[in-house]
């Protein structure tokens, strides 16, 4: 009799073996859902809502959310997978698979009477050993286009079909290499992702400059200028009624008019300052002038700019202020006192593109762009969303590789090697924990097994083949998904991120151990409260 039952007779309790069974069956359940996603031959899921909205995803996280998984154990695993995504941007499906498999393997031993505590001890030993193995398998890389392309391609081919994946990996690598400065860490926010519902997905391109999702709001402004000075600023250029002259308070209409005029002049002065600088720098040359403002610009100010042939954009994204300064040079100005040429940026070409009611402004041909835009194109919303997810993951994968300065051979090679090494290590460990190590080694094999199944090969067959090859060959051995034969992933340029694998090893072992050690589950109290 559980203590809580005395206090709350309504409490539901599951104990010991029963509690473990609950956890294991939940983990297996969500593993089954996610299994088919893994790898470049996995299935893509299309979710159609009751009203007909389409969502296409292979991302484990999205699926877990969409499927409204309520089981507390499943949601714990889902959270581990979310954390995986937050940390590394990849490996969400693997996390779920490995946790599920660890529990499955553990179940066999627990059923034979082994105490879960002993198993987790073994898990912990195995985890440390596996990390060691991982470190040994690291392949240091030169940061150059070819090595990064391999990593990006490996990641992207699991999200979209090969042709598109190759286009996107090229774009992602170019983007990162352009904004990378020496050895400084990369700020991925400096790659702007812009969606354009137009043409097809493979028309997605990299713009070495910036694409803004708005255009000029004056019919007389030029639509295309070359050799342009760029002024980025955060200065209101719209007249706003002040509160004093409103409503009940003003005495005569005249008085009010005067106030309005004085206030309007204040704004005009700002516009005139910009125009003066433009006249000084551009008049008589072939140079042009573009103003990009984070605040508003009202029609009267726009009109003044238009008369001078200046393109003026209002309400730019806050983050674009920073990006513009990095792409074109110059400084984002917060005031116009002693505005100088050195404050301005420069772009070789600025032009507008109109699609229905949407306008896009391209700021291109920048000298040393340190901020770029990936312009994603697709004929419809759901494809755009899919590409955006893929590009994000691709950028993360490249960034991980750069930070790790190393990669891990993919195609299941790491798991096969880890199994081999762990089995050797097992012999050196005394007592029951070695059973935990065996279970752990077995569980890791779920990755190559599922890869094989998803590609239409027999799992056992493949594993045996891989293990045989791995026993003969000191090089890492992976699985070729088209032939089902053992290959060296290095020859095919299949590389995974080091940090992704590391995170999987750590989080899976911990979550699985925690779930194993649960010997009582109860539900009582404020059941409707989340978390």
């Amino acid at each position: 009799m559980s203590a809580i039952s005395l206090l709350n007779p309504k409490a539901e309790v599951a104990r010991a073996a029963q509690a473990l069974a609950v956890n294991i069956s939940a983990a297996k359940g969500i593993q089954d859902v996610m299994k088919s996603n893994l790898g470049p031959k996995g299935t893509v899921k299309m979710l159609v809502s009751g009203a007909g909205d389409i969502k296409i995803t292979k991302d484990g996280n999205v699926l877990l959310h969409e499927m409204q998984i309520q089981h507390p154990t499943a949601s714990l695993i889902a959270r581990a997978s979310t954390a995986q995504d937050d940390m590394t941007g990849d490996g969400t499906t693997s996390t779920v698979l490995v946790i599920g498999e660890l529990l499955k393997q553990a179940d066999i031993y627990v059923a034979e009477g082994l105490h879960p505590r002993v198993l987790t001890e073994g898990f912990d030993k195995a985890r440390l050993k596996t990390l060691e193995i991982l470190d040994n398998m690291k392949i240091p890389i030169e940061i150059n286009k070819d090595s990064l392309l391999d990593v990006a391609r490996t990641s992207l081919r699991t999200k979209v079909h090969a042709e598109l994946a190759d286009v996107l990996s090229g774009i992602c690598v170019d983007a990162i290499l352009t904004i990378r400065k020496d050895e400084k860490p990369i700020d991925l926010h400096m790659v702007e992702l812009m969606e354009m519902q137009h043409k097809t997905a493979t028309d997605t391109q990299l713009v070495k400059g910036l694409v803004l999702d708005h255009g000029s709001r004056h019919p007389d402004m030029p639509k295309r200028v070359t050799n342009a000075y760029i002024l980025t600023c955060n200065i209101s250029m719209e007249y706003e009624k002040s509160e004093v002259n409103s409503g009940f308070f003003y005495k005569t209409a005249d008085e009010r008019e005067k106030l309005v005029k004085a206030e309007r002049a204040f704004i005009e002065e700002r516009v005139i300052k910009v125009i003066e600088l433009k006249k000084k720098l551009c008049d008589g040359t072939d140079k042009t002038f573009v103003v990009i403002n984070q605040k508003g610009i009202d029609p009267m100010s726009l009109d003044m700019f238009a008369k001078e042939g200046i393109i003026a954009l209002r309400r730019a994204k806050r983050r674009n202020m920073e990006r513009l300064a990095l792409a074109c040079g110059g400084i984002a100005m917060n005031h116009l006192n002693d505005l100088q040429e050195s404050h301005l940026g420069h772009a070789g070409l600025v032009y507008e593109h109109v699609l229905g009611e949407n306008k896009f402004t391209f700021v291109e041909e920048c000298k040393i762009p340190q901020s770029v835009t990936i312009l994603m194109k697709a004929p419809n919303k759901h494809t755009l969303a899919q590409i955006k997810d893929a590009v994000r993951d691709g950028l993360r994968a490249i960034n991980n590789a750069i930070e790790d300065k190393a990669v891990i051979p993919g195609a299941g090679a790491f798991e096969v090697t880890a199994y081999k090494e762990l089995m050797k290590y097992k012999e050196t460990v005394k007592g029951k924990p070695r059973l935990g190590i065996a279970a752990y080694a077995e569980a890791l094999l779920v990755i190559p097994k599922v890869l094989a199944t998803n590609s239409g090969f027999d799992a056992q067959d493949t594993i045996v083949k891989l293990q045989e090859e791995s026993g003969l060959n000191p090089e890492p051995v992976g699985l070729d998904l088209t032939s089902g034969e053992a290959i060296n992933p290095k020859d095919f340029g299949i590389y995974d991120n080091y940090v992704v694998k590391k995170q999987i090893i750590n989080s899976c072992s911990i979550i699985a151990s925690n779930l194993l050690l649960v010997d009582e589950i109860m539900r009582a109290g404020l059941s409707s409260l989340k978390g």
């Binding site: 996995g42 299935t43 959310h65 079909h161 409503g247 209002r314 309400r315």
Partner: protein, 545 residues
């Protein structure tokens, strides 16, 4: 100056009910025949757009947020700009297997079905539908069509399990996710960027669940990003909760959570919004809005959101007219400046629907015979007095011709002091100055009434005639436009309202406060928030003036 645009935001399911009615009222009231020119500038709340195929659209300048599963048959993107993609032919960018998971297809109700098929949507006004029993979610009676940007769905929480998005902190946490911090704020920016002389924001928000936190964070963001732009917020309390068992309301969970959400919401709005107007059709609204406000000639069921939200929407549409007129230069900013003297940011609202004027009577006689206050408060726990007020009335649906009997037939009228008034505006002002003391009033009037065409609920009794006036004989035709009076008020009554909320917070059990704190707020922060409410009441004491 051209149109002074407003961007509207709606957070939460009940807010969306109100919003849906509001947009319906406006669109069904559009004069399409071109003979009558409207006094109302619809461009303030609507925008003209263009699809890729070159078709012109006219849609609300609106962003709404609701939980997953709350849309019914409405698709998230809408089908105005592009047709829905057929899942069987959709491009997946994948060469291997694709698994399709289809949720059960939602079936359109008769109204949506006919609206979808018809070539002339205005024909729908002549038909009647059984909305009272068929409306489950707000999209069931939606007449307007939305821009693809408009609908935003929170996929983290589900509408069908109503009890999971129920704490303020869950909302503030949600705001920090990428979906909101980037996507949603970008959508706001896209709307504002289009506007030539943007005047401010209208924000309707559910104040009793997690949306209170989401919208509060959003308002804080807007305040920082669009400084100087006024934010008029309408925190709303649903007219009924499904967990209301009819017994005495205990300050227990989930009621205690609602009170705490309200407290946090009011605190945040006081900090970051320009003016806010709490709305509910129940007169005692903090824990459970049990006592519904009765209106003459209206029989409505407060358990139906479809009914109660219609009343609030009609009121909103009316008192917001002041800054939506073609002729006035009065703006949202002026309204906020007028009401926020002495840092009083809370404003009460009231409405009289329909404004009951007898068919054969004139405005002057109607006012002469009027007993009691003109309007009823739709701000919970707030009885608007007749003393020391700052108020703004909007009357619509009484044309100038109904002012008084110009011919000398009616001797009695000639002797009324108001007979010298030559316009509706002047007369109502005169009436107000006689009936209220130390009160500053202003009046706006519009000749055309509020549109109550289908899909507005048919909850008026038979004595309301086809023109909206009170008749002796039962009406035969459907109602189109009816007269309505609505007002905004500021005065010491607001202080009482906030004090009643504060005393409600004192009744909450420690255990519930603890649970609330577990959702992500420090205990200290909770008690600080309650104390600030008490401070707030001081602004409304009369001797403060």
């Amino acid at each position: 100056m051209g149109t002074r645009e407003i961007v509207s935001l709606q957070f939460g399911h009940y807010s969306n009910f109100i919003g849906t009615h509001w947009w319906n009222i406006q669109e069904t009231g559009f004069g399409y025949n071109g003979t009558e020119s409207s006094e109302i500038d619809h461009d303030v709340l609507f925008r003209e757009g263009l699809t890729v195929n070159g078709q012109v659209t006219y849609t609300p300048r609106l962003l709404l947020v609701d939980l997953k599963g709350s849309l019914g048959t409405l698709s998230e993107q809408g089908n105005l700009y592009e047709p829905l993609v057929d899942p069987s032919t959709a491009d997946t960018n994948w060469n291997n297997k694709v698994e399709v998971y289809t949720s059960t297809t939602e079936i359109k109700n008769q109204f949506q079905e006919e609206l979808y098929k018809t070539k002339n949507p205005r024909e729908i006004f002549k038909k009647s539908f059984d909305f009272d029993n068929n409306v489950k979610v707000w999209s069931d009676f939606l007449y307007s069509r939305f821009h693809p940007r408009t609908t935003n769905i929170v996929s983290e929480y589900s509408h069908k399990q109503s009890s999971c998005f129920e704490a303020f902190a869950q909302g503030t946490e949600l705001w920090r996710t990428q979906k909101f911090l980037e996507t949603f704020s970008d959508k706001i920016r896209n709307y504002v960027e289009e506007c030539d002389s943007f005047q401010g924001f209208h924000i309707t928000l559910d104040a009793t669940d997690g949306f209170s936190g989401l919208s509060s964070s959003c308002i804080q963001y807007i305040e920082e990003e669009y400084e100087k732009k006024p934010i008029l917020a309408f925190p709303v309390i649903p007219s009924h909760y499904s967990d209301d068992k009819g017994i005495m309301s205990e300050p227990h969970f989930p009621n205690s959570f609602r009170v705490m959400n309200l407290a946090f919401c009011f605190d945040a709005l006081n900090e970051h919004s320009s003016v806010f107007v709490p709305l509910c059709t129940g007169s005692d609204g903090w824990i459970q809005p049990r006592t519904k406000i009765e209106f003459n000639h209206v029989t409505y069921d407060h358990k139906l959101y479809y009914h109660s939200s219609a009343i609030l929407a009609a009121a909103l549409d009316t008192f917001s007219l002041r800054y939506r007129m073609k002729t006035h230069s009065y703006t949202l900013k002026d309204l906020c400046a007028d009401f926020t003297t002495n840092s009083r940011k809370v404003v009460a609202a009231s409405v009289c629907l329909p404004f009951s004027i007898n068919e054969d009577s004139d405005f002057i006689s109607c006012l002469d015979k009027w007993e009691g206050p003109l309007t009823k408060s739709i701000t919970p726990n707030c009885s608007i007095g007749t003393d020391k007020l700052l108020q703004m009335f909007t009357l619509r649906g009484i044309p100038e011709t109904r002012l008084k009997n110009q011919l000398s037939e009616n001797k009695a009228q000639r002797h009324m002091p108001a007979f010298h008034c030559n316009s509706i505006n002047e007369m109502l002002n005169f009436y107000l100055s006689c009936n209220y003391f130390y009160t500053l009033s202003s009046v706006t009037n519009v000749a055309k009434g509020v549109s109550v065409r289908t899909p507005f609920p048919h909850f008026f009794d038979d004595s309301v005639g086809a023109n909206g006036n009170i008749c002796a004989t039962p009406r035969k035709k459907d109602l189109e436009d009816i007269p309505i009076l609505a007002g905004l008020h500021s005065g010491s009554c607001i202080g009482d309202m906030i004090e009643s909320l504060h005393s409600e917070t004192k009744k909450i059990k420690k255990l519930d406060v603890g649970q609330f704190s577990k959702t992500g707020i420090e205990m200290q922060e909770i008690s600080d928030c309650f104390d600030r409410l008490l401070d707030l009441t001081e602004c409304y004491e009369d001797n403060y003036l």
